[in-house]
């Protein structure tokens, strides 16, 4: 992303200086602060962060999906295929949602109508976006979509209601709805968080297959680094409403260059090895109603070593290598030797050579 050499028409979504502020009785909360990233055609971008990191607010703002009641202020620019979405009218947005851009939520019941048969919902979704060939053709396509997402006996399932599906099967139905109109961008918000691990593995496969079948790009919003490792080409790490690090998934996992990303990965227990003691990040994520000044991670940062600039100046998200950006005043101190050694270790453990461009 943003490596400069890409042709403009390779970019499907460009988010520039996005600011999302919720105004409430007790003051304002800036959920997203100058968030910028791009998504190329066919690419999977994972936006990873904890609660309050701004990951959902940023991405939901793309489709103006944030609740209007809460007095939300959204500024900046979101361009889909070159067209600005933030000032788009309702009609344009309706055509975009479920058309060029489709959403997959954590809880399928938020997007499935509980009193309408699954087949009918799929057919309506197709016809609303002018699927050619009339109702019969749309019905055939709906059955085919259920088959693509691995639902057994799709003809029978067409006639059932959402509550007759298990959690994993409902998630598949939602994926089928999402890819119905061959979107160019899928947005998945914690798509497997509510699922058991064996079902999660299935749904991740379905997502991958659905992406492959449509060639869509995807933004996956998640707190789960495992989901990132499974799906992402590119990673956007968010903390306290800001993007703190971006880069290719391979590079971010092999050699993270922001202290928060490093801490996040170091604190994870491993399934395949015994770790004597976990190394947690001290403290708690910031309260966005009263964020710390300067770098929002500075109260928890071990690299800072008491230096004032971290508490006074906001570090810019700057390019540190081709395709890599980090928002840390001292990212250069995260030793190149150290990261190279770590990369070599990971490469040796996994038997997978690490290439420079990570792709």
């Amino acid at each position: 992303m943003n490596s400069g050499s890409d042709a403009r028409d390779d970019v499907i979504l460009e988010i520039r200086d996005l600011e999302v502020t919720f105004h409430g009785d007790d003051g304002s909360v800036q959920a997203a602060d100058r968030v910028s990233f791009t998504v190329r055609r066919g690419e999977t971008v994972a936006v990873v962060g904890e609660s309050g990191s701004g990951k959902s607010a940023s991405v939901l703002a793309v489709l103006q999906l944030l609740p209007r009641s809460g007095n939300v202020e959204v500024r900046g620019s979101v361009r889909l295929d070159g067209r600005e979405l933030l000032d788009a009218d309702r009609r344009t947005l309706r055509a975009v949602r479920g058309g060029a851009v489709a959403m997959i939520f954590q809880d399928p019941m938020t997007s499935l109508n509980p009193v309408v048969r699954v087949g009918k919902q799929l057919v309506e979704m197709l016809r609303e976006h002018r699927y050619p060939g009339g109702r019969r053709a749309a019905e055939r396509r709906a059955v085919e979509l259920l088959r693509v997402v691995g639902i057994p006996q799709p003809e029978l399932r067409m006639r059932q209601f959402p509550h007759e599906f298990s959690g994993g099967m409902r998630q598949r139905v939602m994926i089928a709805m999402a890819i119905a109109n061959e979107p160019s961008l899928l947005i998945a918000d914690e798509p497997t968080t509510a699922l058991d691990v064996t079902i999660q593995a299935q749904v991740l496969d379905v997502l991958r297959d659905a992406k492959a079948a449509t060639g869509a790009a995807a933004i996956v919003i998640t707190h789960d680094l495992g989901v990132v490792a499974e799906l992402a080409d590119t990673v956007v790490v968010m903390y306290g409403g800001r993007v703190v690090e971006t880069g290719s998934a391979e590079e971010i996992f092999a050699a993270p260059r922001h202290p928060y990303t490093i801490g996040l990965m170091a604190g994870l227990p491993r399934l395949d090895a015994d770790v004597d003691r976990l190394v947690p990040i001290p403290g708690s994520p910031p309260n966005l109603a009263d964020p710390p000044p300067g770098c929002r991670f500075h109260p928890r940062c071990t690299l800072r070593a008491g230096r004032d600039v971290c508490a006074t100046e906001t570090p810019e998200l700057r390019e540190i290598a081709a395709g890599r950006r980090s928002a840390c005043h001292f990212t250069e101190e995260i030793s190149a030797e150290e990261t190279a050694a770590e990369a070599a270790r990971v490469s040796e453990l996994t038997g997978v050579p690490l290439t420079g461009d990570g792709r």
């Binding site: 298990s166 058991d196 691990v197 499974e230 928060y260 994870l268 227990p269 491993r270 976990l278 708690s284």
Partner: protein
């Protein structure tokens, strides 16, 4: 089943950190069935939540109880602390059979056995101060005396909370701090066993490791025993000495942590471990991953024979009618599978 294989002493030595020896809890053939009615006048049915479950926990030891939702792991935890009455089977805590003990007989037992919940926000009274929350069990058991405030302060400190915060309400704390309060309250009566039901799964990733480390430290310093109920297999590996894997109300595999994770022998354990997402993108296409098809069947109507046979990639005809017993089968952990053979070790990811 060979009971000797169940005891901490009877299992081969593996990790032994902090284990003082002896047994604090023994659960034998625990079965819990709930009668349910589907709809107002629907037919009476029975949810077979837990079926013939047996395990032990040694002093200073952690037993990890893993499985997916509906496998009966939380129900087992609730039965151990006797929030639920077992349909059949025995629960022996510190040498005393408490399976059918009355409410008053349970009172002194409950002091020694405490429960920590998943969501600290839901388990703490929002109107009580931190001091009141932690002191409450002491008051209930008539042990809050002149030394009470000092005891509360000590508990807070031990759990990584500043005692000066004792006047604050739960909402003034972060999720991780609230879980520390929940743990401090559970420790107030100096229990010997904690039943921890998903104690870190509601927490932010960066905070989970803090709470896991706190639990490890408390066990080392206080000699606590843990029944650690969780779905996160990596966390369970980190904190447990021994592990029991449950599927649809039954234990399907049970043994030393290292055995279970390095050479799982039950096809369900193998599938569970290989379903866990990759640790790095490079492991994405690791070979030999087992993907299960289908959903977990309903505990209202579990499959005949081996409960897992409907999803098992290795099932043979016998599995559909003959229920396999949990036994050693020549290996080093207990396995409930007709096809488990000694030496047929499945290698987990990363150890190729």
């Amino acid at each position: 089943m060979t009971t000797s294989a169940l005891t901490p002493a009877g299992t081969p030595a593996g990790s032994s950190m902090g284990r003082a020896g002896g047994e604090i809890l023994r659960v034998e053939n625990l079965t819990i069935h709930f009668p349910v009615r589907s709809g107002l006048l629907g037919p009476r049915q029975t949810v077979q939540a837990v079926n013939d479950v047996s395990f032990t926990i040694g002093r200073g030891e952690t037993l990890g109880l893993v499985g997916e939702s509906g496998c009966g792991k939380s129900t087992t935890g609730l039965a151990v602390i006797r929030r639920l009455r077992p349909t059949s089977g025995r629960i022996v805590f510190d040498g005393r059979d408490i399976s059918t003990a009355s409410r008053s007989a349970l009172r002194p037992v409950r002091r020694n056995m405490q429960f920590v919940f998943q969501d600290p926000a839901e388990s703490l009274n929002p109107r009580m101060t931190t001091h009141e929350i932690i002191a409450e069990p002491l008051r209930i058991h008539g042990r809050y005396d002149a030394a009470g405030p000092a005891k509360v302060a000590e508990l807070m400190e031990r759990c990584g909370l500043d005692p000066r915060w004792s006047g604050r309400l739960p909402h003034e704390f972060s999720g991780g701090q609230r879980q520390r309060i929940g743990i401090a309250r559970a420790l107030a009566l100096d229990p010997s066993l904690l039943i921890l039901d998903e104690p870190v799964s509601a927490l932010d990733v960066s905070v989970q490791a803090q709470i896991v480390n706190l639990l490890v430290d408390l066990q080392r310093d206080l000699g606590l025993s843990y029944l650690f109920i969780a779905h996160d297999l990596a966390v369970v590996r980190h904190i447990s000495h021994r592990v029991a894997v449950m599927y649809l109300g039954r234990i399907v595999e049970y043994g030393e942590k290292d055995q279970i994770y390095r050479s799982p022998r039950h096809p369900y354990t193998q599938a569970l471990l290989s379903s866990v997402p990759a640790h790095t993108p490079a492991e994405r296409n690791r070979p030999g991953r087992i993907k299960l098809t289908g959903d977990v069947p309903s505990p209202l109507d579990p499959p005949s024979g081996c409960h897992f046979h409907t999803r098992c990639p290795k099932a043979i005809d016998r599995c559909s009618h003959d229920d396999p017993a949990l036994d050693l089968r020549g290996g080093r952990q207990l396995v409930a599978c007709h096809l488990a053979e000694p030496g047929a070790d499945h290698q987990t990811q990363g150890e190729r």
